[in-house]
């Protein structure tokens, strides 16, 4: 290069990993003291199995025509559960459309995730009640909402933080970068959690950024951390520290969780058109669940009965979701006119009334 070169970038070794794909517990500089209780690890495992089951059920329901589309989180369970379980009750989450695992950690009834994909609603939970925003489809938009919400917490003097999710593709959107500016300038209590699953539909990471994503933060004046996104221990600890930092007034952190979208972008996507099978196979060896299972088994922290009981719980959950999904009431056409405004609009009232009258005409004719 002909002008001052970039300051040295972090070595690859900076990616925080505490549990290898082989289920071996390792450490990382600065993370020597980290400890997880057997109960906690069994909890992660249970979350994993249930969340993966919810996801499989989503895909199955779509195949059977019960959902219009489904966005699978397959492969991203550790990134989502690890971060989701790091939340304190007062923290607030801003998800994309793929955060089923985080939703699970926040206590959202999985069937409430399905309405959007079934087309009966645009989001069925109360964000203020669950401290979990609605799924956001316009890529990156929620990053600014998250930052504004964090600025609100600041003004309230709350000791809470915001956790904002987005993808590797989203990192290219103006909104996400503006959110970095805002969060930095206002020292907002927010953690940006980027699930770098390597793909934005068919577009690989290299098309979204020239530098590793976690390094983006530094140029905006706050720390960026890269973490093995398939390692629930590392994700959990890194997120916990970042959230704590935010709560304590240290401002934002960007976490890049390096993971992989094992399935298609959504059920309408055909990933064989743009990526090779060997890449997927390589990542299958890094499966987030398998390594925790091995860790539990090898260290005698869980027995077969435990694994069986989790599987059984998953079966029950799947059956319940399926049943309740199919029973979701259809909203009916008049839903269209509801909650457009808080205070009535005469224009809309007239349209509603005319349409109601028009529909009534049919009833008459069928009578």
């Amino acid at each position: 290069m002909t002008v001052d070169s970039m300051a040295s970038t972090r070595p690859r070794g900076d990616c925080v990993q505490l549990l290898t794909p082989e289920g071996e517990r390792v450490t990382h500089p600065g993370y020597e003291d980290v400890d997880f209780s057997p109960e906690q690890v069994r909890g992660f495992y249970r979350d994993f199995v249930l969340v993966r089951r919810i996801d499989t059920e989503g895909t199955a329901l779509q195949r059977q025509g019960e959902l219009g589309i489904w966005a699978s989180l397959l492969g991203q369970e550790a990134a989502q559960v690890g971060s989701g379980r790091a939340l304190e009750p007062g923290d607030f989450v801003f998800p994309t459309y793929r955060e089923h695992g985080v939703a699970w950690c926040r206590g959202i009834d999985p069937v409430n995730l399905l309405g959007l994909f079934r087309g009966v609603d645009h989001g069925a939970w109360d964000p203020a009640e669950m401290n979990f925003g609605l799924y956001t489809i316009v890529i990156g938009a929620q990053s600014l909402h998250a930052t504004g919400y964090a600025m609100g917490m600041q003004r309230d003097g709350a000791e809470d933080a915001v956790l904002a999710y987005f993808g590797d593709g989203a990192s290219a959107q103006g909104d996400v970068n503006e959110a970095f500016i805002w969060a930095g300038v206002f020292n907002a209590p927010i953690v940006f959690f980027c699930q770098n699953n390597q793909w934005a539909i068919s577009v690989p990471l290299a098309r979204q950024t020239r530098a590793p994503l976690y390094q983006r933060a530094q140029g905006f004046g706050f720390p960026g951390v890269q973490v093995d996104g398939n390692d629930v221990f590392a994700v959990h600890e890194v997120t916990k520290r970042a959230l704590r930092g935010a709560r304590e007034g240290n401002g934002p952190t960007l976490i890049e969780a390096v993971t992989y979208r094992m399935g298609p972008h959504t059920t309408t996507d055909d990933p064989t058109r743009y990526r090779i099978a060997s890449e997927v196979e390589e990542w299958r060896l890094k499966d987030p669940i398998e390594r925790v299972r091995v860790y539990l088994a090898r260290n005698g922290l869980a027995d077969q009965a435990f694994f069986d009981s989790v599987d059984e719980e998953a079966n029950d959950l799947a059956a319940s979701i399926r049943k309740r999904c199919i029973e979701l009431p259809d909203p009916g056409p008049m839903r269209m006119f509801q909650q457009v405004y808080a205070e009535p609009s005469p224009t809309l009232e007239r349209e509603r009334a005319e349409y109601e009258e028009y529909l009534a005409g049919f009833e008459g004719s069928h009578a």
Partner: protein, 324 residues
């Protein structure tokens, strides 16, 4: 009662809104220390602090997007867009988020956001500083849109907009900021979403809003000399539109002229024309006339007098309604 400028009336209204509700915030470029490039927020940061009157980074999507988050947290942000042409970097957040979040959440997430936009031409400015983008917002379901035209309305409407639980795009006629009138701070405010008959007349109805109200008032004076009594209506609320007074008027006059600065194609005057024709089909003596900006980008300042509806063009349209 005191004589104040329209800009000062807005300033007083904003001050009142900040006083009345600690959740009200003002945010935008240069709104704090400087008091806004038009001084509409003058003195407010000094009195309410930097946490409530926030000088933001220079990014409109950021202004609107963070306001959405603040609203979700229970705040009531008032965003200032510095000039009409600069609302577009924030357009996605307005159209896809501000307008849709209540609907998306089935009413669970209210969006009590006010987006203030100084609009319209006639100040001799460079590009992007003279536009009338109201149509984009009136066409967007989920938003409400209003435009004030005089100090009293400015004072009350801004307060009503702030206390509304719906998102409101609030247009301010920038070339009228310095015009003075009596401000009655004790009066009973007129409803936010109601049109107002400013002058009664039986020959022809003229409907307009914002900066063109004064133009049309002058035109009404001139028309009287020509023997035509104009009924002048200030639309005030551009979405939803309150056309009942217009229907009632047209049923008497049989003639309607709609006047605005925004380009003509698919503008609000088209909607008014469609609705009035539908509703008053048998009363119309002439097709609805439209006096508007042309379907061109806003021209250089030395050409803008031709672009803007002026007294002569309004009078010509009034006359034309008698030629059918």
């Amino acid at each position: 009662m005191s004589k104040v400028t329209l800009g000062k009336a807005l300033n007083l209204g904003l001050r009142k809104a900040l006083e009345d509700d600690p959740k009200v915030l003002i945010m935008g470029e240069d709104v704090g220390r400087l008091g806004g490039v038009f001084r509409v927020t003058d003195g407010l940061q000094k009195d309410f602090g930097e946490d409530r009157v926030i000088d933001t980074p220079l990014a409109e999507s950021g202004i609107i997007g963070t306001a959405v988050g603040l609203a979700m947290r229970g705040y009531r942000p008032i965003c200032e867009i510095q000039f009409d042409g600069f609302v577009f970097p924030g357009f996605d957040q307005i159209v896809n988020q501000v307008a849709k979040l209540r609907y998306r959440s089935q009413g669970r997430v209210p969006m009590p956001i006010v987006i203030r936009i100084p609009f319209g031409g006639g100040i001799g400015a460079v590009e992007h500083h003279s536009e009338s983008p109201e149509t984009y917002f009136a066409h967007t379901a989920g938003l409400k849109v209003v435009a004030c035209s005089n100090p009293t309305d400015a004072y009350w409407m801004i307060q009503q907009a702030v206390s509304s639980d719906d998102p409101i795009v609030f247009f301010e006629p920038k070339r009228r900021y310095h015009e003075k009138a009596d401000l009655d701070e004790e009066a009973n405010p007129y409803p936010l979403h109601a049109a107002r008959v400013l002058r009664s007349g039986g020959d022809v109805t003229v409907l307009t809003w914002g900066p063109s109200v004064k133009t049309c008032m002058d035109a009404a004076d001139a028309a009287r000399e020509d023997g035509h009594e104009v009924e002048l209506i200030d639309l005030r609320s551009l979405s939803p539109m309150d056309l009942d007074p217009v229907y009632a008027s047209v049923e008497r006059t049989g003639r309607l002229v709609v006047v605005h600065e925004s380009p003509r194609t698919a503008s609000l005057s088209a909607e008014v024309s469609a609705l009035v024709t539908e509703r008053c089909f048998y009363h119309l003596e002439a097709p609805v006339q439209r006096v508007t900006g042309f379907d061109v980008p806003y021209p250089p300042a030395r050409v803008e007098d031709g672009f803007l509806p002026d007294l002569d063009r309004v009078l010509a349209a009034v006359d034309h309604t008698f030629e059918f």
